[in-house]
Amino acid sequence: MMKQLQVCALTLLAAIAVSVSGCSYCGAPGREAAAPEGEFSIAELKAALRGERWEDRLAAVGQMKTRDDIPSGERIEILAEALAHEVTIQDPLRAEGSYLSATDIVRVHLTRDLGELGRDARETLRESLDQASGEARDRLILALGHAGDQSVSAEILKLLEGSENVAIRMEAARVLGLLDYREAIEALERALEDPAVVSAQGHLRSYTIYPVREQAAGALLRLGVQVGRNDQGELEIEGRNE
């Protein structure tokens, strides 16, 4: 069941990845695949990554992911610069229907895309890490985790336990699961009681979510720990109270 769940989640992520150039998942009759959009020059991309509108920054991040004409190392450098800029932005605007702010979502995309690129150019990603500080450094560590670099597992565990940034703790929990870092199980179990809570308005209704607990539960499931919800809807380790 757990393995099946992992595969399914990966399937949906893959669908999201391909949806930039066409949806292979939805396939509604009569709808065509999305048309390729105009591509920017590198200079234009860099400018867009520093744009005032989050929509422009997010679009540029999305385009970088598919720009195979630019070497992975160069793309990492550009995205690392963009990340360093992004973490300086103070904008509380919450993205449509989301419980995260728009800039948090751009940061998540930057982190995961850097990790994706880092699979082929891990050294470049490490070099970027050496030059970074603060949240940018934290996210580059997480990106290395997304790239499968086990050597940063302990640092990511520290982020889960010590970062004051909810979005960092959330992503750290997730990456620890992806890295299959079993030493993190206890910390992840503790994270099921992380106090961070967000009330948000979705397209359907308002809802409350504990972001760190959610990702900690997902990581535990990947690590083979059975997690469930009690009658109050709270996440808990299954069988612990039996």
């Binding site: 099946q4 595969v7 399914c8 989640a9 990966l10 399937t11 949906l12 992520l13 669908a15 999201i16 949806s19 930039v20 949806c23 998942y25 939805c26 509604a28 065509e32 695949a33 999305a34 048309a35 959009e37 509108r53 929509e55 997010l58 679009a59 991040v61 999305g62 385009q63 509380p92 605007l93 919450r94 993205a95 449509e96 229907g97 989301s98 419980y99 728009a102 948090d104 979502i105 998540v108 995309h109 959330m170 992503e171 308005q201 979705g202 397209h203 359907l204 209704r205 809802y207 979510i209 959610e214 990702q215 539960a217 997902g218 499931l221 997690v227 469930g228 919800r229 809807g233 996440l235």
Partner: protein
């Protein structure tokens, strides 16, 4: 030398005189070109039309003619020092210097001659001569004089047409477009028969004599009696033929000066008639759009929604504007008024549309046309004017009146995806600095609303929005299409997942609105609210993936908003 000869001599002197002043440099070109022309000539005065017995009175004015001819000859000798004689008016003024006589006031004769010419000139680009043409003319003369029991009367009139003969009739045009300012000479000297009809009579006191002159088609004969005896009794032939062919009559004028393709000139002739020349020269007969300059026509933002379109054509020659027929665009569902009410025969039309139509398809591209009706074979019609009728995007002057125009019309398009009846505009969506809402679906909150989707004011985000998962950006009607698709996916999912029974929290442990037993089908966890960790509850992911399939540009051709995809802005 009779007075007709004096008159003719004066006219010829004038046309010799005028072109000598300011004579333009002639620049010949190799190419043969055609200049078309229209002239209206009118002369009103005692000697504008030849007459009968009362012409004797004009003979009495011969000293005046002679004095004026002398002035002209003097002027001719003084040239080229005198440079200000550029037309008939200046020449006439010079001619009359020192001769304060107005024959038109003195002679009891009135006459009116008019001629309309249409002609083609051929030339090398600078020198043009008559190639062909046609003249319509009309003439009328009347007079009445009584003195000491004697009586003089006459009344003649006629009209006709005449085909210009390039071998003897002269219309010449010379251009110097390179001079500063560009200059031209226009010379006209032509003659045509003047077949008048009418009669003239002169009777002495107590009918001591009586003379009559009859004109039939220009042939004049004289008959009479003296002391009660016919003139034939004293040897006169009966009738006495004055002339056996009609008089030749016509136009002699010259103009020299600034290059002008049309104009009106008024002057006094040697016999104090008032002459008017109205000429129009053109290379090509046709019409060109002056207005509207742009093709985009947008209803205003007022409550009624009005649109005014001014159409104006530059017609060459100007008079031909009366031959234009119009095809004016209409907008079904909008009241159109035209000024003038029947625009045919006018070179301008103002259209006013009141009220926006109910149907989006009533907007869009329409043709404005004007065509020459009877002159179509010789005049070039203006090209069809492509107009694009638009509405103001954010105004609320559509027939509904309570929703913005973009919502009212876009839902009718492909972007509405056939869901117009199930779609409502929500002006109260909570958008603020920290929250952005573009649409919503309320079936989970109230099952009574489970068949309706809500679209928020997209103006709050400047009609630009991104899919947060795929980072694609959507603008204008594409954003609308994306939001409709997103919310409609929620609606479809609701009915697919929960059906008539509605949402049941017991079947949704993670509170993400997807039934636990359906989550795996989407690759999602039944116990995680945000399986992917991207910032949304799981029920949003299928909707975001679906709305990303909206094909950008697929509704562009139906977007008549301004600004919008068809407005170019």
């Amino acid at each position: 030398m009779g007075f007709l000869s004096l008159r003719r001599m004066g006219l010829l002197l004038l046309i010799v005189l005028v072109p000598r002043s300011g004579s333009p440099e002639i620049l010949a070109q190799d190419e043969v070109n055609v200049v078309h022309g229209r002239i209206r000539y009118r002369e009103v005065g005692p000697s504008a039309v030849p007459g009968g017995v009362m012409s004797l009175l004009e003979g009495a004015a011969a000293p005046v003619y002679i004095a004026r001819l002398q002035n002209l000859l003097t002027l001719l000798l003084e040239l080229p020092q005198t440079q200000d004689i550029s037309g008939m008016k200046e020449a006439g003024e010079w001619m009359n210097k020192g001769i304060p006589v107005n024959l038109a006031e003195m002679l009891p004769i009135s006459s009116h001659y008019w001629a309309e010419l249409e002609f083609d000139l051929e030339g090398d680009g600078a020198n043009f001569k008559l190639a062909s043409g046609r003249l319509r003319w009309g003439a009328k003369r009347s007079g009445n004089l009584s003195y000491n029991g004697a009586q003089m009367n006459e009344a003649f009139s006629g009209q006709g047409t005449y085909v210009l003969d390039p071998a003897k009739d002269k219309i010449e045009l010379r251009f110097d477009v390179f001079s500063e300012p560009p200059s031209q000479q226009l010379l006209i000297s032509l003659r045509h028969p003047l077949p008048l009809n009418g009669e003239s009579s002169w009777s002495g006191p107590e009918n001591i004599f009586k003379i009559s002159m009859d004109a039939k088609e220009g042939i004049m004969s004289l008959a009479g009696e003296a002391l009660g005896k016919p003139l034939t009794s004293v040897g006169f032939p009966s009738p006495l033929m004055i002339n056996d062919t009609p008089f030749d009559w016509g136009i002699d004028l010259a103009q020299s000066g600034r290059h002008r393709l049309n104009g009106i000139e008024v002057w006094r002739t040697i016999s104090d008639s008032e002459a008017t020349l109205d000429y129009d020269l053109y290379y090509e007969c046709g019409a060109a759009w002056e207005e509207p300059k742009e093709g985009l026509m947008t209803f205003d933002e007022g409550d009624t929604g009005t649109l005014e379109v001014s159409s104006y054509l530059n017609v060459t020659p100007f008079d031909f504007g009366s031959d234009l027929g119009w095809t004016m665009p209409e907008i079904d569902g909008s009241r159109r008024t035209l000024d003038p009410g029947d625009p045919n025969g006018w070179w301008f039309v103002d259209s006013r549309f009141e009220g926006l139509p109910a149907d989006n398809n009533a907007f869009g591209e329409k043709e404005l046309m004007a065509e020459f009706q009877t002159l179509g074979d010789q005049c070039k019609d203006p090209p069809k004017k492509e107009l694009r009728f638009l509405y103001s995007r954010e105004a609320m002057n559509n027939p509904d009146g309570d929703v913005p125009n973009w919502f009212y019309y876009w839902k009718q398009t492909r972007a509405g995806q056939g869901h117009a009846a199930a779609m409502e505009y929500d002006p109260n969506c909570t958008n603020s600095e920290d929250r952005q809402v573009l649409g919503h679906y309320n079936g989970y909150v109230d099952p009574a609303l489970a068949r309706t989707i809500y679209i928020c004011n997209l103006g709050n985000v400047d009609f630009t929005g991104s899919n947060m998962l795929t980072s694609r950006t959507f603008e204008g009607i594409d954003l609308f299409g994306r939001i409709v698709l997103h919310e409609w996916t929620h609606l479809e999912n609701y009915w697919d997942w929960w059906g008539e029974g509605g949402y049941r929290a017991a079947s949704d442990r993670d509170d993400d609105d997807i039934p636990d037993d359906r989550e795996a089908g989407y690759g999602l966890s039944p116990i995680l609210q945000d399986t992917l960790g991207l910032g949304y509850v799981d029920s949003e992911y299928p909707a975001y993936l679906q709305d990303n399939t909206w094909v950008i540009g697929s509704a562009d051709k139906e977007d008549w908003a301004n600004p919008g995809k068809q407005s170019g802005e």
